[in-house]
């Protein structure tokens, strides 16, 4: 099996709000595999040169206050779920899409309650096809009395997408515009 990145292991920092494109606030200064609870509580200035948010960022749909960091290696993923608020009735589910099959770690992880800043780690083993597939994670729970969820996905073999017939046929219309033609059913 081959590694997902050239280096052999890549840490994909999934943006919590999903809707931010580009610059992000500096990541919490946590060590690899550690939790934010273990980090220093002294005021920290971001490292010079670190990208951060500008005056405004894109909006995003409401989601559970959760950050998911994935460390992906060949056939394995270590997911670090960090909660941004106290919560209860937490369920963490991981599943494969587009042919990716979980060999280990498919059972949902439940937590009666979590604390703000708490980290929950989930490790999975999987078989991925040669074509593009996805590892998805959903964190669901009740936060400050309201049920919320957060879904994130991580692409395996990105760009190697199988050609399907579900997207319609690409054409150009009378006005010269590209159109995606779908047959009515």
């Amino acid at each position: 099996m081959k590694y997902i990145s050239i280096v052999g292991m890549v840490v994909l920092l999934a943006a919590a709000a999903c809707g931010t494109d580009g610059a992000r606030p500096p990541a919490p200064p946590v060590s690899a595999g550690g939790s934010s609870e273990a980090a220093s509580s002294e005021p920290q200035a971001a490292a010079p040169g670190t990208e951060k948010a500008g005056p405004s960022e894109p909006t995003a749909k409401p989601s559970a206050p959760v950050n998911v960091t994935a460390t992906l290696a060949t056939g394995a993923a270590d997911l670090d779920v960090v909660f941004g608020a106290d919560g209860s009735n937490i369920t963490i589910e991981v599943w494969g899409v587009d042919g990716l099959k979980l060999k280990e770690g498919a059972s949902p992880v439940s937590k009666p309650s979590v604390r703000n800043g708490q980290s929950v780690k989930v490790s999975v083993l999987y078989d991925a096809p040669a074509t593009e597939s996805n590892l998805a994670i959903r964190v669901r729970g009740t936060f400050q009395g309201r049920e919320q969820a957060k879904v994130q996905s991580f692409t395996i073999n990105v760009g190697n997408q199988p050609k399907g017939a579900l997207t319609g046929e690409s054409k150009v219309d009378k006005d010269g515009r590209p159109v995606k033609v779908m047959k009515s059913q």
């Binding site: 943006a15 709000a17 500096p26 220093s40 909006t59 400050q144 059913q185």
Partner: protein, 554 residues
């Protein structure tokens, strides 16, 4: 509170409608499931019509083709919390651009738009066989749904071929592509579902506000590849459904997270565009959840947009979000179900409070504390009034604008906001003005009060911040109001943590310093008598208190 009776109706009505709709679909389909040939049409007599000629090989006699356009909509089951493919509804494709194509040559003969019943008609000559191209695009307002993973191609649904006749009928259905367990056919319904939700949203304002808003063109990006992953949008890695400041992106990845049938999400994101385009959006964006104690610009923007989803889709006030394998999971929250429990962190910094306030200001006087109803026109008018305020767009400037427009309802408006007073730290005092003057609820961060600090040239101030993983929280943002004196004004900061300084004039960025340190400096030429707002934004990620020394000088 709404009654149990109305809840039952809300949950039962879609079933009744879908049952009726499925009956209609069944009546239109042929043996192959196609809805395209000579079905008995339910076309409205007010259908849009167009004429044209063309096509080789046909006869020079008058032909007419008419019919209805519809798409399948999958409702959300709020009890089982999933998309319910067993109750698919057939909805009209409204206001869409329709082109008549010569089936033999692919030449375009004529074009028109469907009406609000989804009906269309063409009168033409020449072509012996024709077909339709139905664009996921409307003209009034100008809305387009494109595939961001395929060169921004506009989605078009092509009908089957029809023989030309004196009065031919051709109904066209955009189906979901769902086979009972998965999407195995083209998901033609999805882009039309996104389009229709946006069209409904815009029409509410076009039809109920006078003068109607002038909507500029807007593009939606939807794709079966759009998934919740950061990366290249051209590959579908859009992060989540969002408004990027110009266009909207909607999730569509099957078995992961699809939003095309989560109408409230589409309206919510459309609301961000609406807010920015016709009102003013000072939000700094970023991550947010319903219980967060947010920068009040973020809280207002997110809360207003969620309220707008309930307003536009009224009486469907339940915000829903489906996800997971077979879209069989999700959650829902009823915007009309007010909750002022202190555990929800209610206040002027809460998007949940804002959504509850705005929706109750809109709807009828149906709760003991809610005796005000300004309707959709009142909601819009306040947005327009708020646009010109020198303060930021927060619940303070919005409610102050609403009171300004409806002075007779001021006491009732106060009753709505006061409902959320849960404790000394959490709630909203009666809103006196756009600046939040005399607000006493700090959200647990004493440095947040007063909402706007008074900044005078020649003085220095220490602002108190508290770190958080996110920089768009109340604890990481402090506002300072500065009156211009006609001279250049310099503001500097000194802090052990990274902070940014930004100066705004009525929401427009005048100058900013966002270097990665606590030492910032901005200078701007001030206009005498003009009020500027300085934003001090912190980026410390640890939950500790820290300060920033702010000096204002010439």
């Amino acid at each position: 509170m709404i009654s149990a009776r109305s809840l039952v109706l809300r949950r039962t009505l879609p079933f009744l409608l879908s049952t009726l709709a499925l009956g209609l679909v069944a009546g239109c389909d042929d043996e192959n499931g196609s809805s395209s040939t000579n079905s008995s049409s339910s076309s409205s007599s007010s259908s849009s019509s167009s004429s044209g000629s063309g096509g080789a090989g046909g006869q020079d006699v008058g032909f007419r083709l008419s019919g209805s356009l519809s798409y399948e909509y999958v409702p959300f089951d709020v009890d089982l919390e999933k998309l319910d493919y067993g109750k698919i509804e057939k909805r009209p494709i409204r206001g869409a651009s329709v082109r008549l194509i010569d089936a033999d040559t692919d030449a375009e003969i004529a074009k028109t738009s469907s009406d609000d019943e989804g009906a269309y008609s063409f009168e033409y000559m020449g072509a012996a066989k024709v077909k339709l191209w139905v664009y996921a695009e409307t003209e009034v307002p100008s809305l387009t749904v494109e595939d961001n993973t395929s060169g921004d191609a506009v989605y078009v649904m092509e009908s089957d071929t029809a023989d030309s006749a004196a009065d031919a009928k051709l109904d066209v259905l955009a189906a979901t592509g769902w086979d009972g367990t998965a999407y195995t056919k083209t998901r033609a319904a999805a882009p039309f579902a996104v389009l229709d939700t946006a069209y409904i949203s815009a029409r509410r304002f076009l039809d109920e506000v006078s003068p109607p808003p002038a909507f500029p063109p807007l593009k939606f990006n939807w794709s079966i590849n759009n998934r919740p992953e950061e990366g290249d949008k051209a590959l579908g890695q859009i992060g989540t459904s969002h408004f990027d400041g110009e266009e909207l992106y909607i999730l569509g990845k099957e078995d992961v997270d699809t939003d095309e049938f989560d109408s409230h999400i589409t309206v919510h994101e459309w609301g961000h565009w609406f807010n920015k385009t016709l009102g003013r959006a000072d939000t700094i964006g970023g991550t947010h959840s319903s219980s967060d104690i947010e920068d009040p610009r973020v809280a207002f923007s997110e809360g207003f947009c969620t309220a707008l989803s309930a307003i536009v889709l009224d009486p469907d006030t339940t915000y829903t979000d489906s996800s997971g394998p077979q879209q069989a999971s999700g959650f829902s929250n009823d915007v009309e179900m007010n909750n002022n429990n202190v555990e929800k962190n209610p206040g002027w910094f809460s998007e949940t409070t804002v959504e509850g306030v705005v929706y109750d200001l809109y709807d009828g006087p149906n709760e003991p504390f809610d005796q005000v109803s300004v309707g959709i026109s009142g909601i819009y008018a306040a947005l327009r009034t708020q646009k010109d305020k020198p303060s930021f767009t927060t619940i303070f400037s919005y409610v102050a604008s609403l009171k300004e427009n409806n002075p007779q309802a001021a006491a009732d408006i106060d009753a709505v906001t006061s409902f959320y007073n849960a404790s000394a730290d959490f709630g909203v005092d009666p809103i006196e003005d756009e600046w939040g003057t005399n607000e006493t609820h700090s959200g647990g961060f004493p440095g947040s009060l007063p909402v706007y600090k008074e900044g005078v040239v020649g003085n220095s101030y220490t602002v108190d911040l508290t770190g958080d993983d996110e920089s768009n929280r109340l604890s990481q943002n402090v506002y300072v109001r500065i009156e211009g004196d006609g001279m250049a004004i310099t503001v500097t900061s000194t802090s052990p943590s990274d902070v940014d300084l930004s100066v705004f004039k009525a929401g427009v960025l005048v100058t900013t310093d966002g270097n990665v340190s606590g030492e910032e400096s901005v200078t701007f030429d001030s206009e005498a008598g003009t009020i500027y707002v300085l934003s001090v934004r912190g980026f410390n990620t640890m939950p500790v208190s820290y300060g920033a020394e702010i000096t204002i000088s010439h």
